[in-house]
Point group: C2
Chain length 472, copies 2
């Protein structure tokens, strides 16, 4: 599985420094990236890749430019296959849905303009409907966990997370409607930033629930996520959900600010039978107590919002997003997804407005709660499953995975999923910090404080950290 080309550091800042120092070239980095793509072929990370010739031509072009001028000069990245990238088809993991976009999505273009090198499009749960990574049909197949291929990678942004976790690329874009940018981060031991809804452009993204969708960022570390957020964030007049109140973006937390964390009351936590997850979260809460005050909060309004997403009318929004395709090509949908979307037709508009009104009340209630806290901390996912378990019970286990993520976009919250600990079997356990809309920068600062004390090596056994040790 190892190759001889994997001795270049791929972390964004080291790589940037190497470019600035002239100790490596874009061509060398891209060659290494492509070698690692081959190494991990069995993980089913990719849906499409740019041709090597295209990438090498781009490398040469960059080599004629000054890395000082481009904040992401020569940094390789990947994009989830529900986000348009010029020159590659957008499939949303549905072969029959495939189309060739004329232009790249606004967010992707921001990264390209900053000098980043896009390698290809990543595997995902079809139409971003899933949290497992198992809902991708042939020829793409199930995307496997970076640390243990018997386990799920998490979804729906499975390939984007695994590509980063395995150091194939330096960072990637996913999307996140109900947890798709956070659950795979947790299961692959990386950072998953789900920015405030409407902060990053969703132009050129296949809608899941259009009013809730976010483009998300996967990176190995928080510092990289912060750097990338700054580059990719920009107002896009063509995105009707672009936020108009972005001038209210909260400043970073001041260095001396006292922290006050909310965690759900013990009886409201749910690990779906996994005692080890429960113990790991308890240990994490103990670490939080060294950083600030930890208070038990009522998690019920968050759970009620989550129930609205899964049992309420939003399945109709999901259906609306791809309605023409579903209605003409139902046979081309993954059977599990077809089963889920069928519920859309049973929802009426009166109930939809009832749910919107109830959601608005919950938003007010949860916002008020969050205003008294630095953030709330939850497990990112209640537990992890083996692929075979999910295949045997695909809807219920998927739903379990969203227990701590589903409500986030409905309630207009920002969230960052970070590594926190490891299970005895070496798989990672992650937590998520979240707060009100536009708290993104503050959350990243708090998360860095946690990372600073967690004493937790952010290292899956086959990631670049170990490999670099071998090479270095």
């Amino acid at each position: 599985m190892n190759t001889s080309t994997d001795c270049l550091p791929l972390d964004l800042f080291s790589l940037r420094q190497a470019y600035l120092d002239g100790t490596t070239t874009v061509s060398a980095v891209i060659r290494q990236t492509l070698a690692r793509v081959k190494d991990f072929k069995n993980h089913n990370i990719w849906i499409s890749l740019y041709a090597e010739s295209t990438l090498m031509a781009q490398a040469k072009k960059l080599e004629g430019l000054n890395p000082h001028d481009l904040p992401l000069y020569g940094i390789p990245f990947a994009v989830k296959d529900n986000i348009d990238c010029a020159g590659l088809p957008t499939t949303a993991a549905c072969p029959g849905f495939s189309y060739l976009p004329a232009t790249s999505a606004f967010a992707v273009q921001r990264l390209l303009d900053a000098g980043a090198v896009l390698i290809g499009k990543t595997n995902m749960d079809q139409f971003a409907t899933g949290l497992t990574g198992t809902r991708s049909p042939e020829p793409y197949g199930i995307c496997k966990n970076a640390l243990n291929p018997d386990y799920i990678s998490g979804g729906s942004s499975s390939g984007s997370a695994v590509a980063v976790a395995l150091s194939i690329v330096s960072f990637s874009l996913g999307t996140d409607t109900a947890g798709s940018g956070r659950v795979p981060a947790a299961f692959n031991n990386i950072v998953g930033l789900k920015p405030t809804r409407g902060l990053l452009s969703c132009s050129g993204v296949v809608p899941a629930c259009k009013s809730l969708d976010c483009v998300s960022i996967f990176s190995p570390t928080l510092a990289e996520a912060e750097y990338l957020l700054d580059i990719v964030t920009a107002y896009d007049a063509h995105d009707s959900y672009a936020r108009s109140d972005r001038q209210l973006l909260a400043a970073d937390l001041s260095a001396t600010a006292k922290l006050r964390f909310g965690v759900p009351k013990p009886e409201q936590l749910n690990f779906f039978g996994d005692a080890e997850s429960q113990a790991l979260f308890a240990q994490t809460v103990a670490k939080l107590q060294t950083l600030g005050e930890v208070v038990a909060i009522d998690f019920q309004p968050f759970l009620e919002a989550a129930a609205l997403l899964y049992e309420g009318p939003w399945v109709a929004e999901r259906y609306a997003g791809i309605r023409p395709f579903i209605e003409t090509h139902p046979e081309q949908l993954h059977p599990v997804i077809l089963e889920i979307l069928a519920a859309a037709k049973t929802k009426n508009a009166i109930a939809a407005f009832d749910a919107l009104h109830r959601l608005q009340q919950l938003k007010r209630q949860t916002t008020t709660l969050l205003q008294g806290l630095s953030c709330i901390v939850v497990p990112t996912a209640p537990r992890i499953y083996r692929i075979e378990d999910v295949l045997a019970d695909p809807i219920r286990l998927n739903s379990n995975l969203g227990y701590y993520t589903n409500y986030m976009n409905l309630l207009d919250l920002a969230a960052v999923a970070i590594p926190a600990d490891f299970y005895a079997n070496g798989l990672p356990f992650g937590i998520t910090l979240f707060s009100t809309a536009l708290s993104d920068n503050r959350l990243l600062t708090i998360a860095k404080r946690f990372a600073g004390i967690s004493g937790q090596p952010p290292t899956p056994s086959n990631s670049r950290y170990q490999r670099l040790a071998v090479c270095g």
Copy 2:
């Protein structure tokens, strides 16, 4: 119809000055108000009134206080009967729906706390569903125009507008979902301010379309509306639709700002066959040209949003707001309203989300357009109808009246309806200035400039202006 008690000025600032100077008392003002209530009994303005003894007790109580301490000391006002006022039933013009609220609505309480004296609850189109004032069943009856009782008063806030136009009270509250706070202002020659959605609390208001409803202000003049807006505006944590971005409220227009008015392209104007309205609007546009630049804008996105409200899923939101009552007491609804609400059951959630997405696009498009203008100016209503005409064709003519008002709350706009001119028969013609959310103060400033040059006496023949001349 005249009485001998009507010689006190009722305009807010004169009345306040009289109190400050000690030249009148609250008791005297309330006595005059109650006399005028009787004078205009045939207009069907009121649904309920406080007992004279209650009002006189309140007057006495105020007389023990210092008018300097209370910005609305002793100012009589009225409230539409879909807004809770402690001690009087809330009926929404449906006798079977009536309930006695324990407390007053947040917005009403703000006014009471400022010393204003609430006289009673006003007539309206049932469940705020209408723009005519004819949809109020017995025993309330059709509310008649202040200037000519053969004509409609406009609705749904009919009684609140007529009570101000006839100087029974100094100001009043209405509600405005699709034009209910503007059309009656136009038809009765007063100012109707529809503030930005979520700026004034809707706690204690019977929902029409809960996500779109606004409490609105009726007053004789713009200066009074501005004074009242400042008093009544406050964040209400219990109103789930209270705006969280109110800190972005635009400042007043600077005195030297150049004005740039948008008006719909001529072919997009519609006066539904009334050439005189067309001519009056053309004359108004000519007056605007003396104030600033006037540019023709594409009105189509506004019209498309309006169509969504009437033909799209929002009828389901209207239904959702009073669902338990409709489903248990359908026979108690006005037949026209029952017919309208029946359409709610035909709407599905998929189409509702499609409409929400389309609306979001239209919002973006219209916001961008408005950012290049000081405001857009339209007729408030395309024309006015006789009561008998509306009774003969109640749904179509009502719908015509909303041509320039329906889209406003869907697109999250602020608007102020002001008197502009008169028809040959003495009925008033009004215009509306509107712009983006939170432009309220700016709109009022621009409207005052227009009022300053319009050379238009704001005087219906039987209003206090004439009466004061007689008395003074």
